[in-house]
């Protein structure tokens, strides 16, 4: 599903250049649930953003579902993101003036799906994350765990091939963290490929594979189950 070879990424700031990812090699098969760990600043988010086409890389290669991903313009990137990827962020990133169901329906709007159908699909996913009764609520009326579950539902609504989650439990207490992780595991069991960036060992332990980054290099890559 994901194939990365010798990938390098530097951030250039004025005269200084920061080499963040130094020759990453990575293969992720369909249906895997992978945790990416590492200390702060090790390049976890950078790697996830490149996989998610939110950022470009410098050298190496990246294939997603056998499509070469390199230097995409914003229009193409937007289309691929919509087709291949679902995002879950630490800070939820729900649109604050849209209700739960409207947030979930939004990626479907950009896929050109008709309004009625969007409603049905969105409600289905809301049901799936256990928030059917909260459809008409604004994000500000939801708890952190609920917001994250809405965000997960939104990420799933466009039927992506890969779900990318950057510290999805970072802003949640341990109980709600567990709930969200259980939801992620359940979605993975239904066949979705999922990458989770985290610095919590318990969260990582729930995944089938843990990749550890250090200073932009993969230190360990272990299968847990």
């Amino acid at each position: 599903m994901i194939e990365i070879k010798d990938l390098n990424k530097s951030y250039v700031m004025g005269k200084n250049s920061l080499h963040v990812l130094k020759g990453i090699n990575l293969k992720i098969k369909e249906g895997e649930l992978v945790a990416i760990m590492g200390s702060s600043g090790s390049g976890k988010s950078t790697l996830l953003n490149i996989i998610g086409m939110l950022d470009n890389y410098d050298t190496g290669s990246y294939h997603l579902d056998n499509v070469t991903i390199k230097d995409l313009d914003e229009t193409k990137a937007a289309k691929y993101r919509n087709k291949f990827l679902g995002f879950v962020f630490q800070s939820f990133n729900l649109i604050n003036y849209k209700t739960a169901i409207e947030n979930i329906a939004l990626p479907l709007y950009y896929q050109g799906i008709a309004s009625k159908e969007r409603q049905t699909i969105a409600l289905d996913y809301l049901d799936k994350v256990g928030l059917k009764d909260w459809a008409g609520h604004l994000p500000s009326e939801l708890s952190g765990g609920q917001k994250q579950r809405v965000a997960i539902a939104r990420a799933l609504a466009s039927k992506p091939k890969v779900l990318l989650a950057d510290e999805p439990t970072g802003a949640l207490d341990s109980v709600t963290s567990d709930e969200v992780m259980e939801l992620i595991i359940q979605i993975n069991k239904e066949g979705k490929t999922i990458l989770v960036v985290t610095h919590e060992q318990e969260v990582a332990n729930m995944c089938n594979r843990i990749i550890t980054l250090k200073d932009g290099v993969i230190m360990t890559d272990v299968k847990t189950k």
Binding site: L54, E74, T75, R81, N93, Y97, L106, S158
Partner: protein
């Protein structure tokens, strides 16, 4: 899906749920249009008043006033009082027969005029019939003086609207007798004048009758030459010069004397007033353009603010599949929609305001009938909408091309 029903739904949704933002940008546009139209209307109103002042008197006239000489000449001492007589009038008329339509007499007096118990001081103008044309006097009832009245020295008076109002209390004045100190006039007509109240507190009487009352004097105070309306301004200046030379020669006034006889050409006034009107026009246009620019700057600021406020939202939209074009389109569609609706609202309100103001500001501020041509108003509205769109487009394009990670960065 560019202008689909769906994208409109999405926009209405955004507008509905961001009322303050919508209100702010809409209000700026509406206020911009409103101020522009009202100011522009006022400017036009000023010009209207101005035009009214100057259409009052006939413009193709040359006024001749006798005065005192300031230079000695051909044995005469200086400071000699010049006076015209009926004979002078006849001779000037004969001499300038071809260039001149009429030479009107105007001798001005101030008399106490009495009707029954009421009496008042009025200006009495002893005139010849041509004065009606020279002064654009409008007859309300009865008739004006005619040549027969002059020849027969009839003691007739045509009185101003306000004289009639003062003395007659709504009673029909025609046929009534009014009294000067030792003489009486029979009222034969009532007039009005667009030159204002002062011009309607006057009486016109035959100059010959007045001369008779003044112990058979044959003096003439002021002559008003009405020249051919087809004459150009330069031709009228030439006529003015010729008249001056003729009169100075006739009355033995030094050609170098600036006084003795004073000649003024209303054509000259017209030229001046035309210049003033065009200055006024420039000022009005300037104010209009100024408000419009202020409006455009206002909208641009609001648009930059709106887009900035939405940066994160736009980043989210992009992360879940919005293309840059769809983002730009969404912002544009929204801003054009808001500016069109509120621009139209501002336009209508301003037009209604001008209607309501109407002539209420005429007395104090010389703004009569403020108006704006609907084409001008529409043009200004379209300009604002267009610039609103451009003002929205630039930040929208910038926002649409920001990488989602940057837009989504917390902070």
């Amino acid at each position: 899906m560019i202008f689909s029903k769906d994208s409109w739904k999405e926009i209405f949704d955004t507008i509905k749920k961001n009322k303050l933002r919508t209100f702010l940008s809409g209000f700026t546009v509406a206020i911009g249009i409103f101020i522009f139209i009202v100011l522009f209307g006022f400017g036009n109103g000023l010009q209207n008043s101005f035009a009214e002042f100057f259409v009052d008197d006939k413009v193709n006239t040359i006024r001749i006033y006798p005065s005192s000489t300031t230079l000695p000449y051909r044995g005469y001492e200086s400071n000699r009082r010049i006076e015209f007589t009926n004979q002078d009038l006849i001779e000037i008329k004969e001499n300038f027969n071809n260039e001149v339509e009429d030479i009107v007499v105007r001798n001005t007096f101030y008399n106490q005029i009495k009707y029954k118990e009421k009496s008042n001081q009025y200006q009495v103008r002893a005139v010849s019939p041509g004065h009606r044309e020279a002064e654009n006097t409008i007859l309300m009832s009865g008739r004006y003086l005619h040549e027969g009245d002059i020849e027969q020295r009839k003691k007739y008076a045509v009185i101003g609207r306000l004289v009639a109002q003062d003395l007659f209390d709504g009673k029909d004045p025609i046929g009534e007798y009014i009294f000067g100190s030792d003489h009486s006039w029979r009222v034969i007509g009532v007039f009005q004048d667009e030159g204002g109240d002062r011009e309607e507190r006057m009486l016109y009487v035959p100059y010959t009758a007045m001369q008779e009352i003044q112990k058979n004097s044959d003096k003439i105070n002021q002559m008003i030459v009405i020249y051919n309306a087809e004459m150009t301004y330069d031709e009228s200046l030439l006529l003015e010069k010729k008249l001056e030379m003729y009169i100075k020669n006739k009355k033995v006034i030094s050609p170098d004397d600036n006084r003795g006889v004073y000649i003024s050409n209303t054509g000259e006034q017209l030229e001046n007033s035309n210049n003033f009107a065009s200055v006024l026009q420039i000022v009005v246009t300037f104010i209009g353009i100024g408000t419009l620019i202020a409006g455009i700057i206002g909208i641009s600021n609001i648009m930059v603010f709106v887009v900035k406020e939405r940066t994160k939202e736009l980043g989210i939209r992009k992360a879940i599949g919005a293309t840059p074009n769809s983002i730009i389109l969404m912002i544009l569609q929204e801003s054009i929609f808001i500016t069109t609706i509120s621009g139209y609202a501002g336009l209508i309100t301003a037009m209604i305001t001008l209607k309501i103001i109407g002539n209420n500001l005429q007395e104090k501020y010389f703004i009569s009938n403020p108006y704006i041509a609907s084409s001008d108003a529409l043009f200004a509205t379209l300009i604002l909408i267009l610039f609103g769109a451009i003002a929205g487009y630039i930040p929208a394009r910038k926002a649409a091309n920001i990488k989602p990670i940057i837009a989504l960065r917390d902070k």
